[in-house]
């Protein structure tokens, strides 16, 4: 892979089979806002098409995936339909899906719920106060939900936040942990090991299997983190939504 192909260009979008029963459309081989926008828009367009035999349509950061009934449909014809749809327009110029919301999520920065704030700030070349100011000033988009149920990939932070993952894994990030790497943040929905650095903790549980709406966030939503103190955080833990408030975006 040469440097020339690091961004979406002549090689993209690309369509490939993924397994016997899947098709994958990739809009680039690195994260970018246009490629993410294209992946979101194509996903919604395929859902609207409602092709028979398509069992699932989803997306990742810069790709859209559809799964079909391999024994029930003519896969070649389905691929041709997909190729036609993909070629029909410039997906990176499409508007974001409707019904998006902006979430204001209380978060504790500093102290033991924020164990790597200073280290992350140092890697980004700012002091911890400046780091918190920058993170909380950024409207982050839910670029995709993935890895674990309901878990959002949020981006992007300013360029100097292109900090690498850790070489060693943190053995356990708790539910609600806000972690950072490569200009992105994610909010843990299940307790898991991580190579990203934890800069804050929220009382929001992005996956609530017992609830009517188990998956709190949706791709395309925006998230802003609002600093709160530890005492307020402890009270918010009793709120099923951890104090997070959503408003539909115009």
């Amino acid at each position: 892979m040469g440097q020339a192909s690091r961004h979406s260009g002549a090689d993209y979008p690309r369509i490939d089979w993924l397994g016997l029963d899947g098709l994958l459309v990739r809009f680039g081989d690195a994260l970018s806002e246009p490629a993410n926008r294209a992946a979101l828009a194509l996903r919604h367009a395929i859902l609207r098409e409602d092709w028979p035999g398509v069992e699932e349509v989803t997306g990742a950061l810069v790709s859209t995936y559809l799964r079909f009934d391999a024994l029930g449909v003519d896969a070649g014809a389905l691929r041709a339909r997909l190729e036609d749809l993909v070629a029909r327009r410039d997906w990176s110029a499409e508007p974001l899906p409707g019904g998006r919301r902006i979430w204001r999520v209380p978060a504790v920065f500093g102290g033991d719920l924020s164990p790597q704030l200073a280290e992350s700030a140092g890697l980004a070349g700012v002091d911890p106060d400046q780091a918190v100011a920058e993170i909380t000033a950024t409207r982050l988009r839910v670029q995709t939900i993935g890895f674990a149920p309901g878990q959002p990939y949020l981006g992007e932070l300013p360029e100097h936040w292109a900090i690498p993952r850790q070489t060693e894994l943190t053995p356990r990030a708790e539910v609600g942990a806000l972690v950072v790497a490569i200009r992105q943040m994610t909010l843990f929905s299940t307790a898991a090991p991580t190579g990203w650095r934890q800069v804050a903790r929220t009382a929001l549980r992005p996956f609530r299997p017992e609830s009517e709406e188990p998956f709190v966030l949706r791709p395309g939503d925006e998230v802003v983190f609002e600093p709160v103190d530890r005492e307020r955080f402890e009270r918010l833990r009793e709120d099923p939504q951890g104090g997070a408030v959503a408003e539909v975006l115009p």
């Binding site: 016997l20 899947g22 699932e56 989803t58 890895f147 149920p149 309901g150 878990q151 299997p209």
Partner: protein, 334 residues
């Protein structure tokens, strides 16, 4: 009080499993469900009921289960040592348990995942459309001593039936199709991959299993800088140490490790059931051959009811005593 099995002893990795929850990839939830879906189908056929009912999946080691009422049961998947009140039970067969009897299921004899089915299926609350546990997502949990596993309504039916399982419990060849990232590996490495004998690593769970190559590992030309995208069960991802990992039903939904190909769905039971140390090979097939294999597997599943036979009591062998009583005219569930 409804009929149930009470867990008196529990192996370390027993959970309720069914067909899983397809359709939630976009929400970050892999489909989960039984690691060996064929075993679920076999249990359903043995008990003459739907294939979407929940069964107890037992990885490596079973448990002890006391019946609170008369129950039809079936045992499928990886064969395990099983007995009721000291009388050995045939695996791959249906049996009757009487109220108060204790079913003992010991260690696996081949393969990894054994299944205990009950007439009417196990009744547990549905979460996101299924009853099974998704352990890595935190839905449900492993079974523990004292758990009461309620049985759903059982219209009853014959027991003492058996079904010889396709041998998928000792590793062997897995067929795969190439994918979007196969070309990130050199043609020489892809050829070497196909020629490699792998041993199933002892480490592994419902998320995935590692295949240790008998030679050097594999490295993609793209290195480890791939943007995360959708991953699916069956994907063979090559982790940083060059060792392939086959993703199973509870895998994460996105990943950034390069994937050399994807195992065919019909070969996934063989992959999941390969015991530690089993020798495995991977062979790439084209899409036409893959589709033909998948159709043949679906035909085999549909033909399962025709392959049912009766357990015959051999007077020199008391193994099937419980089932024999049933053939004599006792019908379960009545």
């Amino acid at each position: 009080m409804s009929r149930a099995l009470i867990v008196q002893r529990a192996g370390p990795a027993m959970s309720l499993q069914d067909g899983g929850r397809p359709g939630f990839l976009g929400q970050g939830l892999s489909r989960g469900g039984a690691a060996d879906p064929r075993a679920l189908a076999e249990g359903a056929v043995l008990l003459g009921q739907g294939g979407d009912l929940a069964a107890v999946e037992m990885a490596g080691m079973g448990g002890a289960f006391e019946a609170t009422g008369d129950l039809r049961i079936a045992l499928t998947g990886a064969p395990m040592r099983a007995s009721v009140e000291g009388a050995p039970l045939a695996w791959g067969a249906s049996h009757l348990m009487r109220a108060g009897q204790v079913l003992e299921i010991g260690p696996v004899l081949a393969g990894v995942y054994g299944y205990l089915h009950v007439g009417g299926g196990f009744d547990a609350p549905e979460v996101l459309g299924a009853r099974g546990a998704h352990l890595s997502a935190g839905i449900g949990r492993v079974l523990r001593v004292g758990d009461r596993l309620a049985a759903g309504d059982d219209p009853g039916g014959e027991v003492g039936l058996c079904l010889s399982a396709e041998d998928r419990f000792a590793g062997g060849e897995l067929r795969a199709v190439m994918g979007p990232q196969t070309a990130m590996f050199s043609p020489e490495d892809v050829a070497r991959f196909e020629g490699t004998r792998f041993a199933r690593d002892a480490r592994g769970n419902r998320m995935g299993l590692r295949l240790i190559p008998d030679g050097a590992g594999f490295q993609s030309r793209a290195g480890l800088s791939i943007v995360s995208e959708i991953v699916v069960p069956g994907d063979i991802q090559i982790t940083g140490d060059g060792v392939p990992m086959v993703l199973l039903v509870e895998c994460q939904t996105t990943g950034g490790y390069p994937r050399i190909g994807t195992i065919l769905p019909c070969d996934m039971p063989r992959a999941a059931q390969a015991p530690a140390g089993a020798e495995m090979r991977i062979r790439f097939v084209d899409r036409d051959a893959a589709l033909a294999a998948e159709r043949a597997a679906a035909d085999t599943l549909r033909a399962l009811p025709g392959r049912i036979t009766r357990l015959v009591r051999d007077p020199w062998d008391m193994r099937d005593l419980l089932s024999y009583q049933l053939i004599s005219g006792v019908t379960a569930g009545e």
